[in-house]
Symmetry: C2
């Protein structure tokens, strides 16, 4: 499959913004970015008109709970514990596999419509999440959220379930969601598993150690929440006598799997913990909207930046955001740093845009997830509409994307070389909206009984 | 002119959300909000299909510098003084009347596309701003920004200019921008003047006193910036021995015109100043994006709220935002209060939505600007698309509008009973984009010479 993005007005590639380019794509890889005419030899199967548009890498959502779209607006403006205990947990206890599938499809639709081409999910009913992302055509890292609350029986049951999933290897068989349909399997599965212990306060040390070992054994990313609230740090000190990242260090998790680990939130770290993160190559995922909405605290971006820590950006779940628009997250991230530290020069537009495209992290590269738009990289590309009034005029395209845009500027989305949206139209969107509405209504009806 | 919004799925009116309503409009006034069938007798000149949509009051932008759209992205991530001195002021020195007109038209286009039906502007070349808002069909309060920097000659020249504008009374004559076209003048001008001394640090006490007197004499709103930065407070203490609102009090401005005054930013107030604001009925305009981007500080919403102060919301100018989307401002305002004060219950969705519609201020009511959508109120109404994925499902419509939406959910905009946008299409948008681009390019070319 050859695809040509023709006559694109502006192309953001690495630190450059090139004018009037053709972007050629072949079998899911960007094969050239060249001036008009230079790609005259390309005979594409499909051409997308790039006039009046700018191209850049798709945005990478590093931490989400996709199916929580069904709980959008179900509980807001509440403190964390009443919110979880009175609203979220009772509803989650009622989730069916069908809810998970359609909730994830709604999330995928929203992500496509706002220019996201990759999501790292952590939730329940992983096979349904797989199926939903595969059907939507998005790239995704799917983690089954593990909680044992220190209960050995529960832990063993979970371990058994994860091992069965890994053994079934749904991802790598011709029957699995990455089947090509003709008896073969994709070389680079578009949807792939992670090991996802929920957090240090819901998982025993044994479960965390086991999860790290399984991640290493199966060459997978280890995805967890860390240091989201001050309370979590205090509870860790009370329980283990050390702070959260020190606890991971004592457990040997950082040593075993730090460089394949991504920790969502990563707010409340002291200097020793920051150094541990840097030393062990841990990736951190910033969730500005969620952190502000739940009043969790402020991500110490400059501390990570000066240690050259791998950083990604994320919207978290819709229940604490309440959308999945990575453009919103970019603006919030930049504004939050400036406000919190009283310095308008913090986290400039160029940097947060690089972070949002995945260009400040190599964690997912072995799994086919790219960073900036480059020749030889994965064909995960978005086109934004330069005639959107909020993008006029263009003195600085990156600034416009970060500070002026929202997801509605995205016109076309290409993931793994496939066009998922053109002219803001996503095929099948109506069914997704209808089924998600039906599931959401039935879910809260069950939860409120 | 009779207009019927037919079969609207959901209507937000005051604190209620009504299902399946018809909204009837006659000569710029909402004449009924009723169940299907109840308006069978209405014979509208035009009908708008409300199925799959929700109706609410248009959003009210309480403080902006509209023509600064031409400087979108021209200077970001800079400290206030270098930003003003190196980027903004050199460019503003080059602004032509044509720039002001097309920059304001671009702002109006952006506001219409994101559901704003009223803007209070403060900038230069007021006649061009008038003409632009009138041509766009938006409701607007236009202030000519006054600076004398303590120079009596400059002050006299400004006073003369303002008096000439008021005497010419461009607003109230059949030749002016509020002419109906057949020799008459609108009873309630859609575009009307304010008196707009820029700030206490750019205006002498004499100019502030004169401005307050002129506002009273001509029954106009007095629009200024106040207490945006800590430095401004310190400078006021150094110059006058008192804090900014105390200085207005000493000048007699609060006593003369406090209840017709709106102060943008209003961040750094002590308890005595907060009491002064409440006592004199001053309205305050919160600008969350601008305040965060310039690291100015955090608006003390709860302090104003418990004193029942009149509060409005605003995006400020595009140069410090960088858009005019009031949906962005709602989310930012709510998140900023929660983050800054460490309390997720602060500034809930219902409250910030009321503020954004103007329902927490009566300042502009005498000038025809409404608050919530109500029968008998001005027909400034927006319809949002409930099929936008970010608004699905609807457990709580207000929460969805504040936390999940952006301006792109707006489908239809009605201002003063006239449809300015339907199905996201604004007539004449292409010309506005083309002319604004041309002016912006020439402006920065002149400024960089």
């Amino acid at each position: 499959m050859e695809l040509l993005l023709k006559n694109v007005d502006l192309v953001i590639t690495g630190s450059a913004v090139l004018e009037h380019q053709n972007v050629a794509i072949s079998d899911g890889v960007v094969t050239s970015i060249a001036r008009h005419g230079d790609t005259a030899a390309v005979k594409p199967d499909r051409t997308v008109d790039g006039r009046g548009k700018a191209a850049l890498a798709g945005l990478k959502n590093a931490h989400t709970h996709a199916a929580m779209t069904l709980l959008r607006g179900y509980g807001d403006d509440m403190r964390l514990h009443p919110w979880l205990q009175e609203r979220i947990w009772p509803a989650e206890a009622q989730l069916t596999p069908e809810d998970i599938y359609w909730g994830t499809r709604l999330a995928a639709l929203e992500m496509i419509r706002s220019g996201t081409t990759f999501a790292a999910d952590m939730y329940f009913q992983a096979p349904e999440v797989y199926r939903a992302f595969e059907d939507a055509g998005l790239r995704a890292a799917v983690g089954f959220a593990l909680f044992d609350f220190g209960d050995p029986e529960r832990r063993e049951a979970l371990q058994h379930e994860v091992d069965e999933q890994l053994a079934a290897d749904a991802v790598h068989t011709a029957d699995g969601p990455n089947a090509t349909g003709n008896g073969a399997v994709r070389a680079r599965p578009r949807v792939f598993p992670t090991i996802a212990p929920h957090s240090i306060y819901t998982c025993s040390g044994e479960l965390l150690q086991w999860a790290a070992a399984r991640a290493v054994e199966h060459d997978l990313v280890l995805h967890t929440h860390m240091s989201e609230t001050e309370q979590e740090v205090q509870d860790c000190l009370d329980a283990h006598g050390v702070r959260p990242f020190q606890w991971l260090h004592e457990l040997g998790v950082l040593e075993a799997a730090g460089d394949r680990m991504i920790t969502a939130h990563a707010i409340w770290l002291d200097q020793e913990e920051l150094d541990l993160v840097a030393k062990h190559g841990v990736t951190v995922a910033h969730n500005p909207a969620s952190n502000m909405k739940l009043a969790s605290g402020c991500f110490p971006w400059a501390e990570f930046d000066r240690r050259e820590v791998s950083v990604m950006l994320a919207p978290d779940g819709v229940a604490s955001n309440n959308n999945l628009d990575m453009f919103d997250e970019m603006k919030l991230a930049a504004l939050l740093q400036k406000h919190h530290f009283g310095d308008p020069t913090r986290l400039p537009a160029e940097e947060i845009l690089a972070i949002a495209t995945g260009a400040r992290s190599k964690l997912y590269r072995p799994y086919g997830v790219g960073g900036a738009l480059t020749v030889g990289g994965p064909a995960d590309v978005i086109l934004v509409d330069l005639d959107h009034p909020q993008l006029v005029p263009v003195h600085n395209l990156r600034s416009n994307l970060v500070y002026a845009a929202n997801g509605s500027v995205v016109d076309t989305v290409i993931c793994d070389g496939t066009v998922l949206m053109e002219d803001r139209t996503v095929p099948g969107a109506e069914e997704v909206l209808r089924e998600a509405r039906r599931c959401a209504a039935a879910l809260v009806d069950r939860a409120s009984r």
